[in-house]
Symmetry: C2
Subunit: 225 residues, 2 copies
Amino acid sequence: MKTISKENYLKIIFSREEETGKPITTTYLADKLNVSKAAITDMARRLAAEELIAYERYHGIRTLPKGKKLAVEVIRKHRLWELFLLEVLNMNWSEVHDEAELLEHTTSDKLMNRIDKFLGHPKFDPHGDPIPNRNGKFPKTAKRMSLLESAEGKKYKIVRVNDASKDVIDFLSKIGIELGSEITVKKILPKNEGALIKNGRRLHSISGNIAAALFIAPAEKGRKR
Amino acid sequence: MKTISKENYLKIIFSREEETGKPITTTYLADKLNVSKAAITDMARRLAAEELIAYERYHGIRTLPKGKKLAVEVIRKHRLWELFLLEVLNMNWSEVHDEAELLEHTTSDKLMNRIDKFLGHPKFDPHGDPIPNRNGKFPKTAKRMSLLESAEGKKYKIVRVNDASKDVIDFLSKIGIELGSEITVKKILPKNEGALIKNGRRLHSISGNIAAALFIAPAEKGRKR
DNA sequence: CTTAAAAGTTAAGCAATCTTAACAATAAAG
DNA sequence: CTTTATTGTTAAGATTGCTTAACTTTTAAG
C-alpha cells in the first residue's frame, strides 16, 4: 500500500541516488528522515517486499523502476506546489517548502495536472530544480561542465559556450568541439581545475576556464531519429 | 496528537450534532466512516481523553469546545478548497469533494488564509454551505422557516418576506411581525403544515404558506449594542 | 413489566511505523 | 592482518487505527 511515509522514503532515496549514483546508506536516511536507523532497516524490508527498492543487508538501497516512478511523481507534485504557492498564492519563499512537503502526498494526479496547466507547464520550480512532466520525464538541464563532478562517464551535448574570446573558440575548434557536439565526460577535477573529455575517439584535457564556459546537457538516449 | 483520522471523526461528529442537536451514536459514525462499531468506541475513548469530545458509555458523543474548534477548522478548509478547485482550477463538480477531503488535512492555516483571500473571503461554498471565517464564525444563513424543523426553541430574525400579497402582509402586521423582528420558533410542523412562533409574549400559529414565505436567520447572541 | 432486537462495548489480535538496547558486520587505522 | 570505530541489524515493545467475535446494555414491542 502507498503511504505518506513510504513516499517520503522513496523521494529521498531517489534524490540521493541521482546525486551520488551509489547505494543509499541507512545512516543517511535515518538522518534525513529524523528516525532511528532501526526504522530504516525496517522500512527497507517493506519497500523491498513491494519491489520499490532493491535492498541488500549491510549494503544499502537502490531504487527499482516502480519506486523510481513513485518518487518522481512525488517530486513533481512537490515542485509544482512550490511554484504554485509562491507565484499564485504569493506565499513567502520560506514557507513554501514545508507546505509543499505536506500537500505532495494528498494531491491526485488529476489535480496536479490542473495545476500544471494553470501554471503553463513550467519546467523549473522556484529553486531552479527541474519539474518532471506528467510522464515522469525531466527536462534536460544544462549545467556548467565544471560543476558536474557527479556525472562522470556519461554522454553530454554542448548546448552553450559562455565565452566568445578568440582563444577559447580557437581551442575548441582545434579539438573539434562546437555547439551541439556530443562528448563523454571522463573526469571533472574539483575546484574548477579542469576536465577530461572524450570527443569521438580522442581524449582531451580541458582547462578550468573552459570547463566553466561550457554548458552541457545530458545527451538523448535511445535510437537516433 | 492531531491526526487525519481524528479530524475526520470530529468533522462528522460536529456536523451531525449541528444537524440533530443530540448526542451522536456509535452506529451512525461507524456507518459514515466505514469502520466497525468497535473502532468508534475505541476512538471515542481517545478523543475523550484529549477533551475533544464528551463521551458517556452507551450514551453517545458530544463535542467539547476544543473538538468543535478543530472540526470547524477542518470544515472551513474543506469548503474553501472545494470552491477553489471548482472556480480557480476548473475541476469538475464531481471531483471536487473527494479532492478537498484529502487536502483539508494537510493545509496549514496560513495557506488556507491565502486561499480565502484569493477567493475574496467567500461566505458559501459551491453547495451553498456556509464557510466559517478564520475565527471559526459561520455567516448567518437565512432559511425558509418551513424547512427549519431542527431549530425549534431558538431565537430568529425575520430577514426576508418572500410574498407581497395583501393577505400575507396584513396577517403579519396584525400579529406584529415585520422585517427585522425577532421571534422564537416554538414548533415547525412537518410537510409544510405551518408553525408556532412566539413574538414577544404572544404565541401565534402560522400557516404553511406563510412559514414558507418567511426567511429567518439566527438572531445574534450576547449583549445588544 | 418482560423479553427479544438493536446498539454498544470489550477482548484479542493485526499491520504500519516508530523506539531503545543488544548484537553483528564492515570499514578504517595502525 | 588484526583491532576498533562505525555502520547496520535484530529483538522486543509502544502507539494508532483498525478487525472479528463474544458479551452487555439499552430500547422497543408486546
